[in-house]
Amino acid sequence: MKGARSVAMVALGPGAASLPAAIAALGLSLPAARLSPEIFRLGKFDRPEVSVSFWKLLYTLLKQIHNGGQMESPDIGTQVKFVKYVVLGHGYRRLKFYQLPSDGSLGSKELLLVFSWLLCRVSLVKQSLALSRLKLCDETVVCICDTTVKNIQIERNLDETVHVKGHRDIRYLQWLNGQLEFQWRNCHIEQQEQCKLLHKIHSYTFGPHANPTIGHFSTTEVDVVKKPESCKQLLHLIESESSRLEAFLKWKSMEPLYWRWMETVLDPDTKEAKTQDVCNKNPLLLSSDLCYSDLSRTIEELDRCRTDLVTLCEELHKLVMFKKLNSTGTVRAGEQGQLREGEFSRTTKKIEAAVALKLSDFQCHSHAYRIKKIHGPYRLVFKGKSSKAHKKDSFKSIPPNKAITVEITAEDVISNLKRQEARMKAELKGRQEESRKRLHEAAKGFSQMLVIPPMRKQKARDAKC
């Protein structure tokens, strides 16, 4: 944390006096959380009376980020459990924090540390602002980041680390799996419904929009047109959002102060920090961030692939040279040499296949890197009538921080997704084949068991008829 905080050396003129102002600004930029600078001060001295407020604060913020509605407010025990669980998921590894009692009565200093850690590592404020952002136009989130490779890694980790014997009935797992599938389908149906309705709104309101490149109303706009009284409410919401954004700007300018102060909180702890850091054993948990594959990771991935490729090529080259030498030597040796020749070609083929696979991975990655530009929320714009017979939805980005607009058509996104689907299907097939082989191996142990293949699919029968 220290390295990042070296920025804090700038402009510390007013000193600790303006710290309360900074914390107040931070509080204003967070929704539904009233931060009083006083609890921070008491937290520094690990006073037990503010620990409950800290737990509550963390609970509200994390619950919001993890898309839970704020309808119910469970007892403190549940809140503590939830916070610990989520924070662990984010990769926080300080044992002391997890040892805090579940009644929330202790540990305000630890909680202050967690809060600051989240602030810096998870960019809590930004996320919460993004989540509660008013959506004046119809949006969709496009993300064509490549996740397959990452998943494989996670799974491998699972293979290696999880040795827990399942004492649940296999039927229970099948039941849960089925339930998940139905939920997916429900989700899909709801998405379809939303698409249908949006399309209706967009095509019915074509024409009167002030912006000719958009040309139709969004759902919010239609709502305002239909019910003018909701205009006031909308205005109020916009105002409160802009005040939050203003507070955020203010906080940003004062942030270094806060971190300077945090250093004073941390200082007595730094010595023991190293000995405390024992929780950091399970790499699986570290990688379980929320599919947020950012640019740097892709680049890293890319670099890794490139070096992999280069080493593989070199290996291949060496191997080919070696084998060539070897085989020219052995060809004269007669029959045995021919056998080796076969082996040699097999090996070469194997390596070639491996290289091809790596290469395809590499290509995928470079592709993912290019497509990276379309990650995030996009405004949905219907272009049906302007492009005559050719009906298509097209996405147009809302320029959040840059002035350039990037247009993506639905077709592009779909074809991208299809490519990804094809890749995943191929992978699935490979894995199924692998599992089948393993199953066969295992089945050899049970010679007296009769295995009946599943009923033939209808298509097979059609072909036969």
Binding site: Y172, G178, F182, R185, N186, I189, E193, K196, M455, K457
Partner: protein, 456 residues
């Protein structure tokens, strides 16, 4: 959300029409003993679910009618038009001149592939009319030719064309005494094929419904229409809007009914058989003179479930859930074969007055359920609405995934196997392209189902 009903064959068309009739009567049946606002959101959701309203005031059923003979479809269409409150879309049916002659293979191997495109086109048109499509309810008999053979084929087609929609097959189980000599063959073929492509099978046994007509409804000469009406009433009592939580009725009403039902009842691919029971059920004449109380109704319903009784009369009150903690062998001897009906999951729907006071404690008992699920969180779901259904001040219905069908299924498979072993009537099937291997596969599938349910 909307459900598209696909009526197949004579039985399917007749039952389907009764279902729409029942639902429409319920929707026009006055205030339903609840608040005006509640009633309005109930009506809106019910209408959207089963009907489209292209012209104001005219409800057109979201249905596709399929039969190989024109007679029944003609009757169905005209009866619906005569009802005065709803109608079928007259473009939305498909029929031919010649029936399937109770031959499953004829329906599945000949009529199915031949007419697939026209039927799927009709389905697609119906689907396009829905803003929010929850899924399909196919209605058919299990023993005939068109309904069951073509029905199984169409179901597989639906699964292919709408992979994310929910697919519920309602099948009518034939009378044990039998109308058709090869009904056991047809039943085995239908069930095993549906088991591959459908998400859930909701079964009505003709024998059971017949008994209800005789003993509860006091009908002297029971016609198919009477039987179908009872079936329709039971289906309506499940599929009319009801909400799974008390938070906000209006938004809950509009959820996906098929999706919600399947998620809680049939997630496991080996257990797809659903049975339905309801209480009270009586003739319309005696309805005004009877009052009900929730504790009594639910006590009966629970005993109907565990003793596997199809109606509230003649329940065996001796059947008790097995005592937990007993060793398995002792448990078996206590159980006496086939007496206690173990459930996987249950869905109870309560409609009418004072539903808040209804106590479902009896259904939460883990002893009722198979041990590999967490009872009652995984196993019991409750839907409620203060809106009364079809003139019943209070009514409860239970959709249950349990062992209830184990015995009839075993007997059907047994009878069919006997015939198959002596190769009786097989040629009637092979001549349409179904070979003995196909039969064997179907037997295997159902044996597996029987084994799975048997070992709960």
């Amino acid at each position: 959300m909307s459900i598209i009903t696909i009526q197949l064959g004579q039985c399917g068309n007749q039952v389907g029409r009764e279902v729409f009739d029942t639902i429409c009567t319920d929707l026009h049946g006055g205030h339903g003993l609840c608040s005006k606002k509640e009633n309005e959101s109930y009506l809106a959701a019910g209408r959207e679910r089963f009907f489209s309203e292209e012209k104001p005031g005219v409800l057109a059923a979201r249905a596709v009618l399929v039969d190989m003979e024109p007679k029944v479809i003609g009757q169905t269409l005209s009866l619906a038009s005569k009802s005065g409150c709803w109608t079928y879309d007259h473009q939305s049916h498909f029929c031919q001149k010649q029936g399937s002659g109770n031959n499953w293979a004829n329906g599945y191997c000949v009529h199915g592939p031949k007419h697939k495109e026209s039927i799927m086109n009709l389905v697609r048109k119906e689907a396009e009319k829905c803003d929010r499509l929850s899924g399909f309810l196919t209605v058919m008999s299990m023993a005939g030719g068109t309904g069951s053979g073509l029905g199984a084929f169409v179901t597989a087609g639906l699964k292919d064309a709408y992979p994310s929609s929910f697919l519920l097959n309602h099948v009518v189980w034939p009378y044990g005494t039998g109308e058709v000599i090869v009904q056991n063959y047809n039943a085995v073929l239908t069930l095993s094929h549906l088991y591959q492509s459908s998400d859930a099978l909701l079964v009505h046994e003709n024998d059971a419904v017949h008994k209800i007509c005789a003993q509860l409804m006091n009908i002297k000469q029971i016609s198919f229409r009477d039987v179908n009406r009872v079936i329709a009433h039971q289906l309506g009592s499940v599929f009319q809007p009801a909400s799974s939580s008390s938070s906000d009725g209006a938004t809950q009403y509009s959820r996906s009914p098929l999706g919600d039902l399947m998620e809680v009842l049939v997630p496991h691919p080996e257990f797809k058989m659903l049975g339905i029971r309801n209480i009270p059920q009586m003739s319309e004449n005696s309805l005004p003179y009877t009052t009900f109380a929730w504790p009594g109704l639910l006590k009966h319903l629970r005993q109907m479930l565990i003793a596997n009784a199809k109606m509230e009369e003649g329940i065996d009150w001796q059947v008790r859930p097995p005592v937990p903690g007993l060793p398995a062998s002792r448990k078996e001897s206590l159980k006496q074969p086939g007496r206690f009906n173990t459930s996987i999951a249950n869905l109870v729907t309560l409609r009418g007055k004072d539903i808040q006071s209804a106590d479902l404690g009896g259904f939460r008992d883990p002893a009722l359920y198979t041990s590999w699920l967490n009872a009652p969180e995984d196993t019991l779901t409750v839907w409620k609405t203060p809106r009364a259904f079809n003139k019943y001040e209070k009514s409860a219905s239970l959709v249950s995934n349990s062992q209830f069908l184990l015995k009839p299924l075993d007997s059907v498979v047994g009878k069919a196997w006997k015939m198959f072993a002596s190769k009786a009537y097989i040629h009637q099937y092979t001549k349409f392209g179904l070979d003995e291997d196909d039969f064997l596969h179907c037997f295997t599938t159902l044996e597996q189902v029987i084994a799975s349910y048997g070992s709960l």
